[in-house]
């Protein structure tokens, strides 16, 4: 036993690397489905969106970059799926400078492929990327076309039925911002506080704590905090709609639920390693003292 612990203390770190790799890979390939308890901020976001009627119009903004995609992608995908299923119309934009547009294009292409009935320009539209988020948001209260004269492919917005009668962000029923940094906060401070449009945010786990203040003050309808929040959301979707139960149960694609499995297992593995390390340290302490 002593010898085992001695060896554990001098463990080649490549064994640790292998453990890390396995504990993240396995849940992606074979979902485990660990229990997730839903929190009130996610539930209020879900219920607000569930209460929207067919024909209502929402704004989905991609305000994050590739480095937080595993946390943020599932939020944007779940929201888009829910809207398309409920026939809520969606306007998509991107404000994150480095790669926000790429992610918007990918997510929109992926999710709309699952809903062949949804028509571009009628049920959803992609406005593309715009530089200078804070300034652009201020103009959305007067005239959307002043900042977004065309869609992502350069066609004038007036050509699209979805934009008929939509002039300002005041007419939008909900903004959902999937965000890493400051841009999400601007939707609250620039758009909600000036034009009154309800806002739901999907921040990364690191920036989630600062949004609790906005939740408490009622400036946010709801929040999906990090990958955990996204996993909660997937759980709520699956509980409500049979089609989502099937989809999230069977998809080979990435979901926040799978990511959360990996996160939890890896945190457990690291804590287990730390525990074993300390155990070995204490059990072999006598030896070391004698040896020295």
């Amino acid at each position: 036993m002593q010898a085992f612990f001695q060896r554990l203390l001098a463990l080649d770190r490549r064994w640790v690397f292998l453990l890390v790799l396995l504990s993240v890979t396995i849940p992606i390939v074979i979902p485990i489905g660990l229990p997730v308890t839903t929190t009130s901020s996610t539930r209020s976001a879900f219920e607000f969106i569930e209460a929207l009627e067919p024909g209502d119009i929402v704004w989905l903004s991609f305000d994050y970059g590739p480095s937080s995609a595993p946390e943020n992608d599932p939020m944007a995908e779940a929201f888009l799926r829910q809207c398309l299923l409920k026939k809520v119309r969606v306007i998509v934009s991107a404000f994150y400078p480095l790669g926000g547009l790429d992610l918007a294009n990918q997510v929109v292409a992926k999710v709309t492929a699952e809903y062949p009935d949804a028509k571009y320009g009628v049920d959803y539209i992609n406005l593309g990327y715009k530089d200078g988020a804070a300034a652009v948001m201020r103009t959305l209260g007067q005239d959307i076309t002043s900042s977004f004269p065309t869609d992502v492919n350069g066609r004038p917005l007036s050509e699209f039925p979805i934009m008929q009668g939509i002039r300002t962000v005041r007419q939008i029923d909900l903004v959902f911002t999937v965000a890493t940094g400051l841009i999400g906060e601007w939707w609250i401070t620039q758009v909600h506080s000036q034009f009154g449009t309800p806002v739901i945010i999907g921040p990364t786990a690191v920036s989630a704590p600062k949004y609790y203040a906005f939740l408490n003050s009622g400036q946010l309808v709801g929040m999906l905090g990090g990958m955990k929040g996204a996993a909660e959301y997937e759980k709520l979707l699956a509980a409500k709609h049979a089609s989502f139960r099937k989809f999230y149960g069977e998809t080979v694609g990435f979901t926040a639920t799978k990511g959360m499995d990996g996160q939890t297992v890896l945190h457990g593995v690291i804590l287990g390693l730390i525990f074993l390390g300390n155990l070995a340290f204490f059990l072999t302490r006598g030896n070391r003292a004698g040896g020295a």
């Binding site: 690397f17 890390v20 993240v24 660990l34 704590p209 996160q263 939890t264 457990g268 690291i270 340290f281």
Partner: protein, 266 residues
């Protein structure tokens, strides 16, 4: 010609004075270090005055302080070529001497010239380095998405492995300090994921208390991040700011000049 007071002063201080200094320095070697330090003194005072004096010539949109900032962004842009020159000459030497690993120097220089070439082409042709009007990627952008971006994220992702191995080794209760580090780290790691719920999942009877404990850990995490961690960070920031401030005074007054290769103080 725009001959505002602020702009002319900038040119006098940071073009005419250095040129005069260079001319004098060619004759008198002692001035080769003194006049740069004098010029630095003026450059350091401008933003400090601008903090308290809102006069337009100094702090307005194109006043001295913002304008000098715009200038220096350009100067920093020029510096990159010095780095590139160094990389190219080191690589060239490696290849011509057939030093160990010289074929990799060829890979490096090829990557540099191809990607740099695409970038220069984008600037000269006016096509830029993003997407073409038809929505297809420029060559610069294609290499970015096939080589640069994946490698950047992969090296960044190595951190997940290193975090685990560093935690395994460092989080050990060797003494009081290390024990405190270990406990704080363990609580926060538990509080970030529903780990307790996971461990309790085979025992349904434990589920409610595990959920409660998990929520408690979450709140404890927030408290630790906010209060003890926030306090320690404040303390570090205040101390470091004083150290930085005193270093700034020494640099502006020309006492600290090692960064110019001028040796130490007096």
């Amino acid at each position: 010609m725009n001959l505002e007071f602020g702009r002319v002063t900038l040119v006098v201080l940071f073009a005419l004075l250095p040129i005069a200094g260079i001319a004098l320095g060619l004759r008198a070697p002692a001035l080769r270090s003194k006049i740069p330090l004098l010029v630095a003194f003026f450059a350091g005072l401008i933003p400090i005055f601008s903090m308290y004096i809102p006069k337009k010539f100094l702090s307005g949109e194109s006043g001295m302080s913002p304008r000098l900032d715009q200038w220096l962004i350009i100067v920093a842009g020029f510096a990159l070529l010095l780095g590139i020159t160094n990389v190219v000459s080191n690589g060239y030497r490696k290849i011509s001497r057939r030093d160990r690993g010289w074929p990799y120097a060829i890979v490096l220089l090829t990557g540099l010239f191809v990607m740099g070439g695409f970038g220069i082409y984008g600037a000269i042709s006016g096509k830029g380095i993003g997407f073409l009007p038809d929505g297809s990627a420029t060559p610069f952008r294609w290499v970015w998405s096939a080589v640069f971006q994946p490698l950047q994220s992969t090296i960044f992702a190595l951190l997940a492995f290193f975090m685990a191995s560093a935690a395994f080794r460092a989080f050990r209760a060797r003494n009081t300090e290390a024990t405190i580090l270990l406990i704080a780290g363990a609580i926060v790691m538990c509080g970030r994921v529903p780990l307790l719920e996971f461990l309790a999942s085979p025992f349904p009877a434990l589920a409610p208390s595990a959920a409660a404990a998990s929520q408690f850990m979450g709140r404890a995490t927030e408290w630790i991040m906010d209060i003890p961690n926030g306090a320690a960070q404040s303390g570090i920031i205040i101390g470091a700011a004083l150290g930085a401030g005193s270093m700034a005074i020494r640099v502006i007054l020309g006492i600290e000049r090692g960064y110019l290769g001028l040796g130490k103080g007096e």
